[in-house]
């Protein structure tokens, strides 16, 4: 749960109600990098697995 707690705490820094609010640089970077990294990881990871096992998911006959 360490990573989840770290993500939760990163959000605590970004308190829009606070005076002079400015989102932390790390929070901004993680907000964009997290989805892109996971998307790339799953996308290319599945391609890699398909190559290793010689199968192709839903290629279709068209």
């Amino acid at each position: 749960m360490g990573f989840l707690n770290w993500l939760q705490e990163l959000g605590r820094d970004a308190n829009p109600a606070a005076d002079g609010f400015q989102a932390s640089m790390l929070y901004l970077i993680v907000s964009v990098a997290l989805p892109v990294t996971i998307g790339m990881f799953v996308g290319f990871g599945l391609r890699f697995l398909e190559r290793v096992f010689g199968v192709e998911l839903g290629r279709g006959g068209h």
């Binding site: 308190n15 929070y27 907000s31 989805p35 892109v36 279709g60 068209h62």
Partner: protein, 312 residues
């Protein structure tokens, strides 16, 4: 109130993953971001405030579209040149739409059921619902007649939508500069047609406050004449950039709940892979038929959102 005030419980994690799997599957298959379904559900079922639901949904949309783009790229379903040109037109359109929206925000309120409802929200919701009903009806009718036409004698992947005379004239307009889009099978088309369609879909998306996939995908198929599978892949490629920009601007306002984004991404990225894998297999007419049905689900979600505003 910050995102940390809404911790995601361990019990809700599997539900978020499952919900993400369904939305990601629909997104990867139809080329939409799924915000129309995700945002109201996060708000109503999980009690996430609307601004945080929108910011976090854009985060999952960015990851989902990235995963789906990788998948569609493998099958050659993306026209990168068309996607890049559309992004330019869409960006200008979104800015123009958002500016008009800012002006309309001062249009006042109406009282329904004893509760004040923003006139702008009411008008925009009705316009969006009308647009979805029109698109849904037209796509279901067209795809059904195409399916009947090709029944037992044709390849579904090449059974594309017929074009009206106005659309054909638009496609053959000789206005310099002309571009070639080999991936979409378009030999020559005016750059201005692509930019104007991008601008108009972006304008509607900026004004209606929606992702735009619902408008852009049919526009690519019916106006530009893209094969349906290429329209789906190219739309997801565009969503990857627009949602990436969206999540950044929402992060600046502290609206992105990172734990929520992570929970949703586990489901949506896997769902998107499965959905994207079956777009080509299903064939153009079935994708268009399903998209038409999905548009009606969008109408129901708009109605639910309006109803909750009136009764809450």
């Amino acid at each position: 109130m910050s995102v940390a005030d809404f911790p995601i419980s361990v019990e809700s994690f599997p539900w978020l993953v499952l919900f993400g799997l369904v939305v990601g599957g629909l997104g990867g298959f139809f080329g939409v971001g799924g915000g129309f379904l995700m945002v109201p559900m996060l708000n109503v079922v999980f009690g996430i405030p609307y601004n945080i639901a929108v910011g976090s949904d854009l985060g999952q949309m960015c990851g989902m579209s990235t995963a789906a783009t990788v998948r569609h790229m493998r099958f050659g379903n993306i026209d990168f040149k068309l996607g890049a040109l559309m992004i330019a037109g869409t960006a200008l359109g979104v800015e123009a739409g958002a500016t008009i929206l800012e002006i309309l925000k001062h249009s006042g309120e109406v009282v329904i059921n004893g509760r004040p409802v923003s006139l702008m929200t009411l008008v925009m919701s009705l316009v969006y619902a009308a647009l979805l009903i029109f698109l849904g009806t037209a796509m279901i009718r067209e795809s059904r007649s195409t399916l009947k036409r090709v029944a037992g004698k044709g390849d579904l992947a090449v059974a594309e939508a017929p074009a009206s005379p106005v659309v054909l004239r638009l496609r053959t307009l000789k206005l310099w500069p002309m571009v070639t889009l080999p991936a979409s099978g378009i030999a020559s088309i005016s750059l201005w047609v692509i930019l104007i369609i991008g601008f108009l879909t972006g304008f509607l998306s900026g004004m209606l406050g929606v992702g735009g996939g619902f408008i852009r995908m049919p526009a690519l198929v019916y106006i530009l004449g893209c094969p349906t599978v290429v329209a789906v892949g190219t739309d997801l490629f565009e969503i990857m950039f627009s949602s990436g920009y969206g999540v950044f601007t929402h992060a600046l306002k502290g609206n992105v709940h990172l734990v929520l984004v992570l929970a949703l991404l586990v489901g949506t990225t896997v769902g998107a892979q499965i959905g994207a894998s079956y777009t080509r297999k299903a064939g153009g007419p079935w994708v268009r038929f399903g998209f038409g049905c999905l548009a009606f689900l969008g109408v129901i979600m708009v109605a639910v959102k309006l109803y909750l505003q009136v009764v809450r």
